[in-house]
Amino acid sequence: MSSSPGIWLAAFLTLAIYSFLYKDNPIYRFAESLLIGISVGFLLVVTFDTTILPKALEPVGASLVGTLAAGARSIPGLIWVLIPVALGLLMFARFVKGLAWLSRIALALYIGFGAGASIPANMQSFILKQIEASIGPFLSVANVWEAINDVIIIVGLVSTLFYFYFSKAHSGNFGRMAKLGTYYLMIFFGATFGYTVMARISLLIGRLSFLLRDWLGLMT
């Protein structure tokens, strides 16, 4: 059995989380509250160290000093580093009635940034790559079995796309294709579920190994 207080603490907290499986109880709630507090504290320190300090405070400080030393010439530089800080500070406008809309400027920038960046990224990995991967195999069909598989794949892809066609009622032949698409989707969902179970059980193996080996010393 372990003699390290850290291991004992970790084991207690692990069991506290697991107690939720029996039912919600004060020990679980204690662990939950603790986890929220600690994780936010962690995030706060890390964000300060990696973003606020090096990307906001230090550049502003440095260019303030620079401006004081070099005079008006470096004022544009100062303004440049002040822009993002000002945008960040706009988030606090939410607390002031009548100025709350100012925070929307920062939010709009943030969202516009994300939306713009996502278009080429999605075009590449979600569309072009998928098209390439679907038609690529047809260049080298070696035998009948492969040909059958390729047909299964193409029918699946086209019928799934039919399912995602929104501006037409799913009836008649169109509906039958879309229905076929849902069958493929179900196979995908089942397979994904079954496949991911493996990774989830590995996690439990990891935790139980910790309890049984590192804490209790039962595994030899």
Partner: protein
């Protein structure tokens, strides 16, 4: 109450309990279910088996702590094989968290075989920037890692005297929980022809099937199962074999529940309940 109706409304906690037992019991008792060694794994084993003494293998720890339960048994089995064969090992990490994990793994397994840091193995440390690092090692390892993880200049490490770039490395193994091995393949192998073998989580395995088909990688070890196969090959059954037993039995428990659920569904439906 009717039996099948009882099953249909089974308390979740009974499921949870059986699941916990399904994992815990195989961990505590050695069961030793059959493991079929697949070609992907045996080709990595064979490649290493055919290396000459004092050939150099580079292992990169490209994963975080979240996937440790899968990664540790894999890296342990591989390290044991390499030390057993008296090969020279160079370690590094492309993830910050992987650095500490790799350093500890080298020391732990190295000590098992009485190997010394600096002469039998060296751990160079962590570098961000996948592409730049992988390409950089092709021209000069010393330029990318002027000092090893302990802070010793690479020029002063006995082992590193004859290791300068990929030309001196027989195999790169990337222990990874994401697609970092793809970078090793695209930059290390394609550009510098160094042999690459990924050791990845089970979930990532499908990503590398195309590379296996095109023989761009030596082979692949994937997840606990891959580790268990490797343990079987080096005839040292450890954590992975037990973990794999737990995996198998836990899966059978889940399948059993699905069967029970369906039997109960049909039995109660017929009687209109």
């Amino acid at each position: 109450m009717n039996f099948w109706l009882g099953i249909r409304h089974l308390d979740r906690r009974i499921i949870f309990l059986l699941m916990a037992l399904g994992v815990a019991v195989p961990l505590l008792l050695k069961i030793g279910l059959p493991v079929r060694v697949t070609r992907d794994v045996s080709s990595v084993y064979d490649y290493i088996e055919n290396l000459k003494e004092a050939d150099v293998v580079l292992i990169s720890y490209d994963h975080d702590t979240g996937t440790l339960p899968e990664m540790v048994p894999m890296s342990t089995a591989i390290l044991r094989h390499l030390f057993l064969k008296n090969l020279k090992l160079v370690g590094m990490a492309l993830r910050a968290e992987g650095n500490a994990i790799g350093r500890q793994a080298f020391k732990r397994v190295g000590d098992e075989f009485g190997k010394a840091d600096g002469t039998d193995y060296v751990f160079l440390g962590y570098r961000p920037e996948l592409t730049a690092t992988i390409l950089g090692l092709g021209t000069s390892i010393e330029r990318v890692f002027p000092k090893d993880d302990r802070g010793v200049p690479v020029a002063e490490i006995p082992l590193m005297q004859n290791i300068h770039n990929y030309g001196d490395i027989a195999l790169v193994i990337s222990v990874s929980d994401d697609d970092t091995p793809v970078y090793w393949i695209n930059y290390g192998n394609a550009r510098y022809q160094v042999k690459v073998a990924p050791a990845v989580t089970a979930v990532m395995a499908t990503t590398f099937f195309p590379f296996l088909n095109s023989s761009q990688i030596v082979g692949m070890i994937a997840g606990l199962k891959g580790a268990a196969e490797y343990e079987r090959l080096i005839k040292r059954q450890g954590m992975a074999s037990r973990g794999m037993d737990a995996q198998s039995i836990a899966h059978l428990v889940v399948i059993g529940f699905i069967l029970a659920g369906n039997l109960a569904y049909f039995a109660t439906r017929k009687r209109g309940m």
